[in-house]
Symmetry: C2
Subunit: 367 residues, 2 copies
């Protein structure tokens, strides 16, 4: 069913989107401020994907760049709509709705800026079902909708239209090059598709799930209930139904560098028991990719690896990780459409150069 989103929902949505960002995806709080500024006391219509007309024309919108840069270089806010308008002009067709390509991190917010500015509705679905570092890592592409043509807009009103046919990796490569030359952040419109395509290729209801997650964490905290139980209970009725506690400990080391437009590095979480040498190592490329406990891989991409504050359940990005923080690390299962061989080829372990195979987080046995 369609529903209405207002500014009051944004803090919860930002919290849930940070959790789904699995450490990356860019800071949704900056996006939230941009949405608030444009939305005021207005509202945004959010469309249920199952109810879309097959011939509805949807143009997703997003931001691309390194999260480290996004924090320092807040966008003007007009770029995503310029990207959408540029793609509309290129295609000779106006959009009926926009949609996220990525439900985790700041890209949960960018389509809302476009919706608030243009009055277009937003489809409650996305193409990553979490956050991923590259534009080609989309269920859209896995199931036959390609990203090209892509329109990219810069803060000085520059526009770039990239068409690489069905080669989404080349599209990503060229768009990333332009984004780096724009100073590290670009806004994009891509993966234009029909309502029928959305139903076939998108991960459904991820905006409403992010909102529900953020609300559940907040309410549990306010009511002195366990935020982890609230997360598990919220997800139990979604396509992300399996939640596992991977580790509890404190941050003892964080190593990160921004290179080729990505934030890469690793974090070490050590046992709270000072006499134990038990520890969890998380490797990330913008997002958390793999969690290793000793020699064992305990969770691996595309499943979600989420670091949250041990007390409040507040999700913590890799940028927010600090020495001494006490955290809980959760593993969350992803929908079946994200775990098919085709999907794993696009955004499974091997797509990130990892040699370990994918094993569902719920298939493991923990001590």
């Amino acid at each position: 069913m369609s529903w209405t989103l207002t500014a009051a929902d944004l803090p919860d949505l930002a919290r849930g989107a940070t959790l789904l960002g699995t450490g990356g995806g860019g800071d949704p709080y900056i996006g939230q401020m941009l949405v608030q500024r444009v939305l005021g006391d207005g509202s945004i219509t959010v469309l249920d994907p199952d109810e879309l007309a097959d011939d509805l024309f949807v143009i997703p919108t997003a931001q691309m760049g390194a999260p480290t840069v996004m924090i320092e270089k807040i966008p003007a806010g007009t770029e995503p709509t310029l990207a959408l308008r540029t793609l509309e002009k290129h295609l000779g067709r106006t959009a009926d709705a926009t949609m996220p390509i990525e439900c985790g991190g700041i890209n949960s917010m960018i389509p809302l800026i476009v919706a608030a500015e243009t009055g277009l509705p937003v489809v409650d679905a996305d193409g990553m079902g979490r956050a991923f570092p590259e534009l080609s890592m989309e269920t859209f592409a896995v199931y036959g909708v390609h990203g090209s043509p892509l329109a990219l807009a810069g803060e000085r009103g520059e526009t770039v239209v990239i068409d690489t046919g069905d080669d989404d990796r080349q599209m990503e490569w060229l768009a990333r090059g332009v984004t780096i030359r724009l100073g590290g952040v670009g806004h994009i419109a891509e993966y234009a598709m029909s309502g029928a395509d959305v139903k076939r290729t998108a991960v459904p209801r991820t905006i409403s799930m992010a909102l529900a997650l953020g609300r559940a964490i907040r309410e549990a905290r306010e009511e002195h209930r366990s935020p982890f139980d609230a997360i598990a209970q919220t997800l139990s009725t979604t396509l992300y139904s399996e939640v596992r506690e991977l580790f509890t400990g404190k941050v003892t080391d964080v190593e990160r560098r921004t290179t080729e437009g990505f934030a890469k590095g690793r974090a070490m979480i050590s046992s709270l028991d000072a006499t134990s040498d038990d520890a969890l190592e998380i490797a990330f490329q913008n997002e958390n990719l793999v969690a290793r406990r000793g020699d064992d891989v305990v969770a691996i991409v595309p499943d979600l690896i989420c670091v949250v504050d041990i007390e409040s359940g507040e999700p913590i990005t890799t940028e927010g990780l600090r020495y001494g923080q006490r955290v809980r690390v959760l593993g969350i299962s992803t929908p079946a459409m994200m775990r098919t061989p085709e999907a794993l080829a696009a955004f499974g372990p091997s797509a990130f150069g990892l040699t370990e195979p994918f094993i569902p987080v719920e298939a493991r046995v923990y001590a």
Copy 2:
């Protein structure tokens, strides 16, 4: 007057374009092969710029990239026309003619490939009056025609349309970034303009000048006359009427590196008299920028600094410079429209980070 160009003209045109490349501009002999393949025994109509209808619609075409890469990565040949078609589609208007943006080096040939493929005529004019390393270094831009929107095509059929409004340096910056990610070479269509704009902003009759120069050098050689006298005589009736011999010697050092998509470096030409320490140093960025003899600047951009073989008069690119070559270095004056304060701001010494002022090559006194 309009004239007709056939495959028989191409070797002379390539030779002349190499001279006008002032050491850079990419190898026109590769372009010549590509034109020959498409042209066969057909012909190309070359339009005199003075005779253009004011409302003629001209889309210039070119290649961009580092000359060092062009030699190793020969283009498929279909990219320039794809770039033209992409820009036509973007603008919603078909071209009546194409034109070089650069008369020196390989970009003398690229519009001929397009003409041979499409049947479009080529305008006998260009926007550099020589070769320059950046897309923003155009008399077109200096006199108010901007490069955007620019269409770029890659060898795998990728297309990119870049629009930076009237900021041609930002256009160059973004297009260069895409070109680097395409492997170092891209083909472009840009600076779309009317016949009236061509008359106002282009350097006229540079294709016919290149052809006449190449023919004069060859005929002088065949008839055992001085190729240098032939060059000077050919240029005497053009806008490039002042020719000076800057130095005669042998190449004793060449230093070059390909960086950020450019071939940068310097060459040292030493006196043929082994007892003399007289020498000429030429610094280049794709093209020769400045020639220094001891502490004296003897020629400087935008005037032409051309290295030619001491016997045959054959022009030598910076890529072709080899230790021990015996060469003559010529300084050639550029047209008045390339020496105005606005023009010098775009492609004079300061545009290349040189601190020396521009002084016309004919204003100097030589020993």
